[in-house]
Symmetry: C2
Subunit: 204 residues, 2 copies
Amino acid sequence: MKLNDRGLLIVLSGPSGVGKGTVRKALFNMPGHNLEYSISMTTRKQRPGEVDGKDYYFVSREEFEKRISEGKFLEYAEFVGNYYGTPLDLVNEKLAKGNEVVLEIEVQGALQVREKCPDAVFIFLAPPSKQALYDRLRSRGTESEDVIEQRVQKANKEFQLAYKYDYIVVNDTVENAADRIMAIIRAEHAKTERTIHRYIDLLK
Amino acid sequence: MKLNDRGLLIVLSGPSGVGKGTVRKALFNMPGHNLEYSISMTTRKQRPGEVDGKDYYFVSREEFEKRISEGKFLEYAEFVGNYYGTPLDLVNEKLAKGNEVVLEIEVQGALQVREKCPDAVFIFLAPPSKQALYDRLRSRGTESEDVIEQRVQKANKEFQLAYKYDYIVVNDTVENAADRIMAIIRAEHAKTERTIHRYIDLLK
């Protein structure tokens, strides 16, 4: 049954520290999906445990800026002195295979994708409370007080942008959040505006 | 976490014979939901195995018409000489408790609800093919050839109205259809337009 099985571009976004990466991993560990992760490119320092080409493509600032000038990003953003971007060719390649493509990106980048791909599904991952996010940012421990303060300020601005998304999913527990996102993906497949053309074929 | 947990009015509809009742029962057998079924009222003859007050409220034509004149139906329709309707007071009672209310109704009735409750979620249950529905209508065996022919004609008209619904779910297997409907309900809870007000409270 192909009618409810069309691929989608899914944008998972939200403030830094809300747990996008953890929720995305839980989502990908769920059974029975054909999700493909779009690996971002960044100029930020590789953290312990991170793998190049799996967690991110780690590139130099020079390389990143060359790619910007060549129009090779679906979106990109600069934050705390580092670039983060989604390589356009890789997304197109995965979409061409008919799979779902999940972007896990910053709010600034998500709004760029909104303009280029209005048909994508935009999910804002929210913390259970503001305080929970602040605590999380502080407990991460890999960044200086200055960087934490910048992230807090940025989060405060990003909280206000949730209304621009299609869905708000609260990260109360990682499992709940991943479950809800999977439900959203399945529901989006059944949306009349996505299925009506194939439905008409079906009834011929 | 209350943010994604608000109750909804869910309208499950589709042509006669598509399997609305079977899918609805499978949906209600799924674990971990708080769905409430809105039992319809009808003047049609009770079929073997059907229970009054569980499958339908079976009432006389006189009683039904009295209730129409008193404005006691959220929607009603007449088909093959019988009335079918949704008692308004029972739906309101269930919604007041904060539960999801599921209506399993004819297309004609669903479009009435669309006008009265634009915020409800409208799901069109479709057969895997036209032929599958015709076969099903014929194999039911409880109705005369005349009634079957009327249902086929009605289905042919109703197929054209799917575009008025929010979602089209294909009843390829009962389990798949019920799964998709549950996913739709969960996703609808996370929709930004439903959650944004509470989200703002959350961030205070």
